[in-house]
Symmetry: C2
Subunit: 241 residues, 2 copies
Amino acid sequence: MAKSKEPKKDLYTIPIDGFFQSAFSVDCVIFGYHEKELKVLLIQRGTSPYEGDWALPGDLVYPHEDLDTAADRVLMELTQLEDMSMLQVKTFGKVDRHPLGRVITVAYFALVELQEISPMASSWANDIKWHSVKRIPKLAFDHKDILMECLDALRSLIKREPLWTRVLPKKFTLTELQEVFETVLVKKYDKGNFRKKVNGMKFLKRLEESQINVRHRPSTLYKFDQKLFLQYRESGSVVEF
Amino acid sequence: MAKSKEPKKDLYTIPIDGFFQSAFSVDCVIFGYHEKELKVLLIQRGTSPYEGDWALPGDLVYPHEDLDTAADRVLMELTQLEDMSMLQVKTFGKVDRHPLGRVITVAYFALVELQEISPMASSWANDIKWHSVKRIPKLAFDHKDILMECLDALRSLIKREPLWTRVLPKKFTLTELQEVFETVLVKKYDKGNFRKKVNGMKFLKRLEESQINVRHRPSTLYKFDQKLFLQYRESGSVVEF
DNA sequence: TCAAAAGTGTTATAGGTACACCCATGT
DNA sequence: ACATGGGTGTACCTATAACACTTTTGA
């Protein structure tokens, strides 16, 4: 996360030669999870406006680039994660949301495994860092609003969509799964009741394998079956965590 | 809904003098309800591209206009309804969604009382008409996708948000309310159970008034209490229809 | 007195919550 | 043997669904 001496690439510094009138951008709320911690990836701006402030990573949408692709690109540039699909949440389009001109921005979010951010990514800004969602600093533009909307979206979607598969190993224990939900939703689940619910979800398949080298009774491992999940969804059953 | 000889105002005809590269627009899915019928307001395009095809009403966003304001303006120009807030659903930004250039469009919807469309509105297009949601014609651009997304949004939101207040009189019967839900969600509710649910919603207040001149037992009238509803919502109770 | 819709009550079942207790493993 | 979490069972409560029945009006 060291500062870089390379020329900064700034997200919102559009050719300011009098031509900048309007533009669209994507802003990405990248949530990182690891062992009962939920964080969000923020950059520290290296250029005006809001120089030095923390902000969401984002970029202008290229002329021949789909909106979704632009969001995925930002994620990829920061985390090297490919094939991730960022989820669209809401578009922010107040006239005065950007001091230099009209910028309409589309907010996206994703939940990924917490990881070290490669130095490459630091060309984006002065600094780039994971921040606990419990302690969000003051943010540039209307990024605080954007972040909050995306946090709401994450909390509501994770109950229905298998977003959590991104942050757990292929084979996981039910306690690990329960911890993801407890962390994201900031609430406790009863162990027994949680397991009863999982039992009703046939796409969560119990394996014939257990943990090893743990100093307590080893836990049975489970895996997520994508095909069964899709069938499940087709059938119209709406089971939520 | 007669054709107009006035110069057509086309939603997507931007100064095509070689400068048109990108623009943002709003597209509005205006649902109209009246007596167990759910319709949607469509215009017939008077200009290329897609001339003659049906399409959603929409317009480019003015340089100094908020996104939400633009959507409300489109609704107002068509229906004379003010103080309506269109609800944002999703932004559509595929590169090739508009044949003449890059147009990113933000989809909004509203549910309003079905009404005659004023002749004034017809300056927008060749024709403008309510279509049953059960028989949607082929639509221009990706408007079919947009419409479907908005229909999903309506169906999911109406259970939690009092959108239905827009299509019922101030004083209404529970049967009228039930019919709104049955029509929008295309399913039947049990009378007794529906009333039990309403009884639990303290913001639906029973009045000391009844219907008159009906050839059956007169129904008690109810009203929606906005203040109580907001309290309810603050308190975190999540009661849905 | 009849049709039509309002309005109420009963029962069965499913799902959620709280909690207690036993089990398997490493140290 | 004991600490640590894994794993299961039960009893209670509430929400929902299906359905039957009574009530009030105009014609």
